[in-house]
């Protein structure tokens, strides 16, 4: 048990040391809170003493009205004073812990916004969410209840024991306290067992969760093969498992309170039996004995707090470590020292001998040498996985290349501030992600203060204005979760409008017209052409009609440029581009039921 406690104490010291920055920043609040808490535990000593005095007077048949009124008035005063102080320490300490949680969440969020896409490849959103919720909660508990329990266990415990020992009888104190350390130990022990078993139960719960998830996703298969009975049996077994593991938790849980009540009962028994002996021998009066048992009752909580403290702090410490680990991860894409502040402008040049994603063996791009003159349109075509999106992501510096360079207006993009570079780029990504805000806010995502006229103008260019007006609240319609209430084509067009509003020199359309029908596509493309005078546009697409009028088209295959030229040149070449073109013509025909053409 000795070593056990030393280890525990180290955990407590460590987590409070880790959190010292916060306690220091809110020194006054914490000092005040702890001060009030100490005062409360001191004045809590008064009522039992008063009760003892009343009992003594009563046994001596010496009660007077004046004395009784005085006693009652004193208790009333203590009641009011401690009410105020209890309120105040709660506000200070718990208020502080809430502030800590708020600050940690802010830090995590800030950090998340700084991390590069690579980070998001390695971490599941669910896990990140768990850090920002469960772990932050555990730390909050440590800074609130943990501090309270520690102060209360140490201060109240010490003050009570000292008072009992000094003002009543140290012998009786020692004897009646004998069972209490066992209580702290038992609580800490049970607490740990509870926690462990609870974790196991949680796992069983998450198993059944996964299973139900799978069942519902595969419900057609289940029905097609008539597997209902088996699935049911499976579910019943899993839910029984959940029950049995929760029963294991319940077993400890049910032992908890009764065990403590036995220990307290023994403690009372000892104090009364031995106390009675003292009274008989005249070493103590009955009033003191009453006071003593009342103090003993007050001592139960600090002792329990002592037990709980270990577990709260242990959990908080583990959570704080996880949060710190996350906060210590550095972003991979960062501003170079002395990076240029100016927004770049001019021809874009790609010189990429080879690029592969971190921790990937395969080259996604190879031998890319490409110049896009200012004001021209580049079409990028090729199959899924050919490297179209990668090219755009590199320009956006979502990832950095190890060899070669990308320049805008002759300046390497790696010499520019990230924000300056991205200010020159308007991006409509392939994953047409919209936020759950109003359509207007989505379009004005990059320019929240854009005028309604400006928003409508880009919406018109993107051929989405009329659609928006048909929505129940027009531009104020809130987009459902991940834009669920909008069709794919509508989302794409909003995403284009969003990019257009940025009014940047370079526009990147990453297959953003795939879900739009041919006529709308043509309308958008011609509107774009009129609008984007002297601006550069990069269009990656599956559909060749989107790049027919581009100044330059490249065909990517396995990360290499296999054909390049204008539409007419590539058709004349009669190779890959030509084949794709023929095929898509026919496809369009079939889509229309073979009627046209």
């Amino acid at each position: 048990m000795g070593r056990f406690q030393i280890i525990e104490r180290i955990v407590i010291v460590r987590v409070f040391r880790d959190l010292m920055w916060f306690f220091k920043a809110h020194q006054r609040q914490y000092i005040a809170g702890i001060f009030y808490l100490i005062i409360v535990s001191l004045i809590s000593l008064v009522p039992p003493a008063l009760v003892g005095m009343v009992v003594n007077r009563l046994t001596r048949h010496a009660m007077t009205v004046g004395f009784l009124v005085l006693m009652l008035a004193l208790i009333a005063a203590v009641a009011l004073l401690s009410y105020g102080l209890r309120y105040l320490w709660r506000i200070r300490l718990y208020g502080g812990s809430i502030l800590l949680a708020t600050e940690l969440r802010d830090r995590l969020y800030r950090h998340f916004t700084q991390l590069s896409p690579e980070f998001y490849h390695h971490h599941r959103i669910g896990d990140l969410m768990a850090h920002a919720t469960n772990d932050v909660n555990a730390v909050q508990e440590t800074a609130g209840d943990g501090v309270f329990m520690m102060v209360d266990a140490v201060v109240s415990g010490a003050v009570l024991i000292a008072t009992m020992a000094l003002s009543i009888s140290w012998k009786l104190t020692v004897i009646s306290l004998l069972p209490l350390p066992i209580m702290a130990f038992v609580i800490s022990r049970y607490g740990r067992m509870l926690h462990d078993r609870f974790m196991v139960a949680q796992e069983a719960f998450s198993d059944i969760n996964d299973r139900v998830q799978e069942y519902i996703s595969g419900v057609r298969v289940v029905r097609a093969f008539g597997q209902e009975a088996w699935e049911r049996q499976n579910f019943v077994e899993l839910s029984r498992d959940v029950v049995s593991k929760n029963v294991a938790v319940a077993k400890i849980d049910s032992l908890f309170d009764p065990t403590i009540s036995v220990i307290i009962g023994v403690s009372y028994f000892l104090s009364l039996a031995v106390g009675a002996l003292f009274v008989v021998h005249g070493r103590m009066n009955l009033g003191s004995l009453t006071t003593f048992t009342l103090y003993l009752g007050q001592l139960i909580w600090p002792m329990m707090a002592f037990g709980f403290l270990f577990n709260v702090v242990e959990r908080g410490s583990a959570s704080y470590d996880r949060i710190q680990t996350l906060l210590n991860i550095q972003p991979t894409v960062v501003d170079a020292p002395n990076a240029l502040v100016g927004v770049p402008s001019g021809d874009i040049q790609f010189q990429i001998p080879a690029f592969q994603y971190p921790e990937s063996e395969r080259h996604v791009l190879e031998r890319i040498a490409l110049t896009v003159p200012t004001g021209s349109t580049l079409g990028i075509v090729g199959r899924t996985g050919a490297g179209k999106t990668t090219l755009m992501r590199l320009l956006l510096r979502e990832f950095d290349i190890d060899e070669g360079d990308i320049t805008i207006g002759g300046t390497s993009i790696y010499q520019m501030r990230l924000h300056a570079l991205r200010q020159a780029l308007a991006y409509a990504p392939q994953d047409d992600f919209l936020f759950s805000m109003t359509i207007r806010e989505n379009i004005a995502f990059q320019k929240p203060d854009a005028s309604m006229d400006a928003v409508e103008e880009v919406a018109r260019i993107a051929s989405i204005h009329d659609d928006i007006l048909r929505f129940p609240d027009g531009y104020d319609t809130v987009v459902g979760e991940r834009g669920a209430t909008l069709s794919g084509g509508q989302k794409q067009r909003i995403s284009i409008a969003r990019a257009l509003l940025a009014d940047a020199e370079i526009l990147l359309l990453d297959d953003t017209l795939s879900a739009v029908d041919a006529r709308t596509e043509a309308a958008i493309l011609s509107a774009l052409k009129n609008n984007r005078d002297r601006r550069t546009t990069l269009v990656a697409t599956h559909r060749l009609s989107a790049v027919e009028h581009a100044d330059q088209i490249i065909v990517l295959e396995h990360g290499r440029i296999v054909e390049r030229g204008t539409h007419a040149e590539l058709i004349a070449l009669g190779d890959r581009y030509y084949d794709m073109y023929q095929r898509q013509q026919l496809e369009a025909l079939v889509e229309q039921g073979g009627q046209v053409g």
Partner: protein, 596 residues
Amino acid sequence: MSIESLESQGALVSRGTFWRLMRYMMPHKLRLALALLLLGAATATDVLQPILIKVFLDRYLIPRHFPEQRLIDLGAAYLLLVLLTAAFNVVQLLLFQMLALDIIQRLRVDLFDKVQQLALSFFDQTPVGVLVSRITNDTEAILDMFMTVLSTFVQNITILVGVMVAMFALNVRLALYCLVLVPVIGAVMWMYQKVSSPLFHTARQRLSLLNAKLNESLQGMSIIQAMRQEPRLRQEFGELNESYRKVRYRNTQVNGILLRPLTEVIYLGALMLVLAYFGGESFSRAVNIGVLYAFVSYLSRFFEPINNMLQRLNSFQQAMVSASRVFQILDNPSRRPMAEGEGEPVITRGEVRFEDVSFSYDGTEEVLKHISFTAKPGQTVALVGHTGSGKSSTINLLMRFYPVVKGRITIDGVDLRQYSDDELRSKMGLVLQDPFLFVGDVTSNIRLGDQHISDDSVRQAAEFVQADQFIDRLAGGYHAPIGERGATLSTGQRQLISFARTMAHDPVILVLDEATASVDTETEDAIQAVLQKMRHGRTTIAIAHRLSTIQDADLILVLHHGEVVERGTHQELLSKKGLYHKMYLLQQGGLQDSAS
């Protein structure tokens, strides 16, 4: 993570919800009675303890009268009471918790059974996450309530009643005075409930907003960064975070005003009452110190249960919201199509006939219009057409996933509606477009739940579809573990396993929903060869994307917007030079670019 945000669209909590939940306790009447009995016993032995101390004080200590044997008996009785109380409590606490767990188990299985009975259209309309959350998270919240009601409320109220009874036994007048506490505490509870429950809800709402914001930001981080909106979103998050902090702070304030600090004041008030009573008594007659002691010690027991109950009020409300959502599903009227009519027809030959079948999912827009065709035993009928032409709907009806309302489908001349589920499922083999594999191993995925299929049959089925070679190469062979959705296997391998699954069930009618996902040519050829083999001797209804695979079909139906626009054999259709012909040309044009 989206579950939180769906909280707002929760069902209305009605008064009936609570009683309906309580009805789940009915089957456990005996255990409940036993648990209540033990609780009563524990409470009795508990409240007896101060009375023993009172006896000790009044009879022996104050008169200084110490008969040794009596005192030992008294001490032993006291310790015995302490131990008995603990023992009763351990058992009753465990009983109550197990009861709650069993009730939730029942509720979960009921819910699962209900979900099994729901029509597929329900699954189309309800996101997977929501449904999962109903079966697991919501029932967990209800479990919380049963624990709260049974463990906290019943327990604490019993203790309170026990303490009151003991007080009355000791001194009726003083006990009557103490009754004042009941309305006072009731008022505090009422007030706390009134003030804290809106705060609690606001806090929950703001937390879910906060989490939704975080979740969404994490999902859209690349866009936020590309559009340089990090500072703005940080600020927005900061504001939400701060508004959440404020409501939590308010919560702490309310708790500080109305919870423990206040009950402590009430406790001291009660203490004053007791002291005033005995002080007043002492002026007219001698006071019984033992009774005073017992009252003081009862008072300290009185307030812990009240603190416990106050803290549990909010989770109780949350559980009611969850319960009403669960009942909403249990009361959902939609039902999957089931066997109708008398008799138990059996599928033997496998003749499939569609007679003027029209169908609509939503009751307004028809996705199938007047479809009629016949597949004679052993024949292959292929459905081709563009996305949304009605191919999948045709299969959905044939599999009886959705009810046929207009027109009629017959198998072997008997209306589809008359077949039992078992008969349909055992004689019709569906091969889905996207082969869905379950977590488990290769064998369990081929056999599924059908324990009649022996390991040998599993092996034979795998050999039949030529999946045995790659299965043998897997680490663990037929017992190689398969992860979520079979992510460890290639598309082609997943397809072969799903073929083997169908063959292991040896169906009379084969329903093929050909995969659109592209696999390399070699695998593709292998798969086609296997399909050819599978179709042999079986009536086959096939959705085909690659026209090359159905050139030998006995009948090809070309669907467009839910109508059959062309029908005939491959040769006949080609010579028509219509839609089918164009589709054929398209595919001849370049299979190499089928990825899009």
